[in-house]
């Protein structure tokens, strides 16, 4: 009957596209607001959205976007270049949380109503990725911004209200209980299948499963236990797509793993090939590099050693090795992987324990006098350019360089690659740098787990994007299929 019912595990903190880092709700926001460009569903290819085409100057400093015509905001205001600039300025200049997406944009101009020209401070081939990112800049109705600006750039109002150009309007925002999106019948693009999206908050995954089986909701977007995927009732089916959120281990400096022999032994034991199938069935693949597999396909993938006897002997020779694994969060996926690795390590005589870090403590490990030896993370960059991965996790001052380990010669290569526009050339450099981080024992990539949505039979075109956090169904494309 034209209604899609989706559960979220957490409530939506804020619906403001500039001022919050939502993960579970990002597709709701992105179906109400639109940016200039976007990733195509199912891949990392950048396609137009509110901009139909764009030109990049040869020096890589000037980007000219040609905007779509005849677009209107939900409140009826016309969409034009001024609106783009107003929204971009709001994000960049007014202490919005996500301002860093536009940090390199020095100047914005609107030569005419349908053209926007951005001038960068330095060349940044990854700019388009930043603009396509699910958290990238979105265009907000300038009249709504003006109307609700109480000296706070409408941040208060936009927490729970939205006026964008997207295929859906935010119809109801009842914090913690329910959120309703209504189809935007004046939408300028293809008309969505569903008239209404009803989002409820069901924090408990067991409840979500029961509700799905009882037909009270149409999908369980994330966290459906992998072990149960093979034995789903006939009324349910699975949509799966590659995701860009790898499972990685970051290694503390001065850990037992600094000893190359020990590291080799440990790698032998925790080799994900040995447990991938048990943990994820067919819904995951081995990490091929320190980058997500969809982001970069390496020429020579990383391989783990396989000689168990040698590993055992090494540990026996080396003497007791005790490893502490820190888990970035309390999400169940972490504990399971940790359990598996601990059981694996026990086989070669390494005693390991794991604990969940206090929330947010992972960001403070640099100053932690007693950090874990290994940090397990399930995290990806917020855009699909390899630069995002490297500069978020590995380079000096990278925000998620948890242990602050630096490998200057690799950082140089990353910087070099960042200037290149030729994809193949660029990727080769990134791969080399990534290999160096791995060889230096800074990071151990484990697996890439697919985005798995369990839903009622017949739901099609979920529009899952690798860059999006898992479970973000694109409400514009999803439909009941034959």
């Amino acid at each position: 009957e034209g209604v899609l019912r989706i559960p979220y595990v957490a409530d939506i903190g804020t619906f403001d596209p500039d001022n919050g880092f939502e993960t579970g709700a990002i597709s709701a926001i992105d179906n109400v607001y639109q940016g200039l460009v976007q990733y195509e569903p199912g891949s990392t290819k950048i396609v137009g959205s509110l901009a139909t085409s764009w030109d990049i100057s040869d020096d890589g400093l000037t980007y000219t976007f040609h905007l779509a015509e005849g677009v209107k905001f939900h409140d009826g205001a016309p969409f034009n270049a001024a609106a783009v600039i107003k929204s971009f300025e709001r994000r960049r200049d007014h202490r919005m949380i996500l301002s860093y997406f536009l940090a390199n944009v020095k100047d914005m101009r609107a030569p005419d109503d349908s053209t926007v020209v951005l001038t960068l401070g330095h060349p940044q081939p990854s700019l388009l990725d930043a603009l396509s990112s699910p958290w990238g800049p979105k265009i907000i109705s300038p009249s709504a911004l003006a109307e609700h600006d109480n000296g706070d750039f409408a941040t208060t109002w936009l927490n729970e209200h939205a006026v964008g150009t997207g295929p859906f309007k935010l119809a109801e925002f009842k914090r913690g209980q329910r959120y309703v999106l209504e189809r935007n019948d004046a939408y300028w693009g293809d008309k969505p299948f569903f008239r209404q999206i009803q989002i409820s908050v069901v924090p408990d995954i067991s409840q979500q499963i029961l509700q799905l089986q009882a037909g009270a909701i149409d999908a369980v977007p994330i966290n459906y236990p992998f072990a149960q995927l093979t034995s789903l009732p006939g009324t349910l089916e699975i949509t799966t797509a590659p995701s860009m959120i790898p499972y990685d281990l970051f290694v503390k400096p001065n850990s037992p793993l600094d000893d190359l022999e020990v590291r080799k032994a440990v790698l032998t034991a925790i080799n994900p090939a040995l447990w991938l199938q048990d943990a994820f069935g067919e819904f995951a693949s081995l990490s091929r590099s320190v980058y997500p597999n969809v982001m970069l396909d390496p020429v020579t993938p990383i391989r783990f050693p396989t000689d168990f006897e040698a590993a055992k002997a090494t540990i026996a020779k080396h003497g007791a090795v005790h490893l502490v694994i820190g888990l970035h969060s309390a999400a169940p996926a972490y504990a399971r992987i940790a359990d598996l690795m601990i059981a694996q390590l026990a086989l070669i005589g390494v005693k390991a324990t794991a604990y969940v870090l206090p929330s947010g403590a992972a960001y403070a490990l640099k100053g932690d006098p007693n950090p874990p030896d290994l940090l397990l993370t399930i995290a990806g960059p917020d855009a699909a350019h390899p630069e995002n991965q490297a500069k978020v996790f590995f380079t000096k001052d990278a925000p998620l360089n948890f242990f602050g380990r630096v490998l200057p010669e690799a950082d140089v290569i990353v910087n070099q690659a960042g200037q290149l526009t030729d994809i193949k050339e660029r990727n080769a450099l990134y791969e080399r740098a990534g290999r160096m981080y791995f060889d230096a024992g800074i990071v151990i990539p484990l697996v890439n787990v697919n985005d798995v949505v369990v839903h009622a039979k017949g739901l099609k075109h979920l529009g899952l994007r690798p860059v999006n956090p898992p479970g973000n169904i694109d409400f514009a494309t999803v439909r009941w299929g034959p």
């Binding site: 408990d204 995954i205 067991s206 499963i209 029961l210 089986q213 966290n223 236990p225 072990a227 149960q228 034995s231 447990w275 048990d278 943990a279 502490v324 694994i325 888990l327 309390a330 169940p332 504990a335 399971r336 940790a338 359990d339 598996l340 601990i342 059981a343 026990a346 086989l347 390991a352 324990t353 794991a354 604990y355 969940v356 870090l357 206090p358 929330s359 403590a361």
Partner: protein
Amino acid sequence: MTGRPGQDTPARPRFNWRDFFRRAGWLESIGIVGVPVVTVLAVLAPWITPFDPQLRVAGAYLPPSAGHWFGTDEIGRDLFSRIILGVRYTWLSGLAVIGFTLIVGSLVGLISGLMGGKVDLVVERIVDLFIVLPSTLIALAFVAAVGPGLVNTMIALAIFWWPWYARISHDEIRRLKARPHVEAARMAGVRGPRLLLRYLLPGVVPALLIGASLDLANVIMTLSLMSFLGLGLPAPAPELGAMTSRTLDSLTVHWWLPILPAAIIFFLCLLANLAGDGIRAALRGA
């Protein structure tokens, strides 16, 4: 007339286990006997598990069978062995919390009750304060601050448990102090530690014992609740609450994973509750 009947009260035998159990009730006696038995099992746990609880010894998700009584878990470890180890953690930490808070709380209560006056007033206000604080919330804040882990969780719990015993022992000692037999002992020249140990403490102990035995189940429940919320032991340690919470989503498919650990928590609480009831009945009757 005084409450006690005339001159012919038959001499009652001194402490006697049969009387004790009869007053406790047969059901409760099971609890009273069960508590030390479980404690011994918990201490011996690492030596009596049929399989190594850390290792993957079979396929994952095997239902209970003759080989693996409670089946295997999501990565193929023997659930029975893990639960035995879980009993060890849960039970012993429950006992530890009770023991620790009992000692600290009753010491505070005894001392302030004995000293009386200003000290007593101040200490009592502090105890009041701790009793009124919303414990779970602050325990959560505490664990969030110092990081999850069994010891931290136990400390967080202990912070909120000791005031009860301080309250009980304080009230009891104040009550006893005013009783004629203590006054009489004072008149007989009994002072200081001798008065405390021989005349006061034995009167306080039953109330504390009753309180503690009834609380054991509460502590175990709260501990498992905290570990259910992810605030318990490091991962490989099989903590019963955490085992349940992590596998709750398989309730409809692999029921034994969440149900059996929870059932064991239930069983432990049941034993503790029964023992508490029994001890109360037996001591009150005396």
